[in-house]
Amino acid sequence: MSSEIATSIPREDERQETARRPWRALAIQLLGPLTILGGVVWAIAQPYRIVLLDRAGQGIYDYLFQAPLLVMLVGLAFSFVIAPGLVDDLEAEDRRDPEA
């Protein structure tokens, strides 16, 4: 067979890589919301960890650092500060190297 017509068969791991990439972007986008959801579920499960709902005998640091709210804050920071740029870079990488 002429080598001008015949092409090589894509390697299995390369095909898997191509198929997996959309899931990477989705996974990155889900990390923040899942963290926020974890904080919300925790707040519902243990409302006494939210000082605003259970004010008896609490000090300034109890108002500043409420554990479930800290979890939500981390999730928000990841969602709005880290994830968008990461997804952009991942898509740029796909556009730059679509065969990979």
Binding site: R24, A27, I28, L31, G32, T35, A45, Q46, Y48, G59, I60, Y61, D62, L64, F65, A67, L70, V71, L73, V74, A77, F78, I82, A83, G85, L86, D89, L90, E93
Partner: protein, 190 residues
């Protein structure tokens, strides 16, 4: 105006959770994409070095117990060394995968410090339970950076190292100054 230990531990937990999410993200997209933006590449070593500075502050102010003082000083030192090595790796000054032995050693020593400075058994109190749980967890997970040093390139090492910080965050968030081992004092509830 010095915050309660549990408040400080929750801040540490939030920092650990952020580090964990960053490392999970890096494990998903790969180091090449993750380090495309400089601020993102430097965020992990910077947060580790910052954690070390905060741990030194705790070492200075938390002087009620010599064992706690020594343990926090050791964690601060371990974080500083590990952060410095990570900084040099991102900067390109260190290239050998063997440098992952440094965070492995830092995790191992930190875990041993947790275990050594807790004199009570597992079910003595919430604090004792968490010291044992975190201590053994850190000793076991030191295998991830060790694996990265011996057999580099495998995703399982990066993913395991990332999830280490998420698990550490969960355990630190569970800390209370006054509480039974499982549950809450005074209410009989969970």
């Amino acid at each position: 105006m010095i915050p309660k230990p549990e408040s400080v531990h929750w801040i540490a937990a939030a920092i650990c959770l952020l580090i964990g999410l960053l490392l999970v993200a890096e494990a998903i997209v790969g180091p090449e994409v993750f380090r495309r933006r400089a601020w993102r590449a430097y965020s992990f070593p910077a947060v580790v070095v910052l954690s070390s500075v905060l741990l030194w502050a705790i070492t200075i102010f938390s002087t009620f117990s010599t064992m706690h003082l020594l343990a926090h000083a050791l964690w601060a030192q371990a974080a500083l060394v590990a952060g410095a090595v990570e900084l040099a790796i991102v900067r390109g000054k260190l290239r050998s995968p063997s440098w992952a032995l440094v965070p492995a050693f830092a995790l191992l020593v930190s875990g041993m410090a947790f275990l050594v400075h807790e004199p009570n058994p597992w079910l003595y109190s919430r604090s004792a339970f968490l010291h044992h749980a975190i201590g053994w967890m850190l000793v076991v997970v030191s295998i991830f950076p060790l694996g990265q040093a011996l057999r580099p390139g495998r995703v399982v090492w990066r993913a395991g190292f990332a999830l280490t910080f998420v698990l550490l965050a969960v355990l630190l968030f569970a800390d209370r100054d006054v509480a039974p081992i499982f549950g809450r004092f005074g209410t009989g509830g969970p």
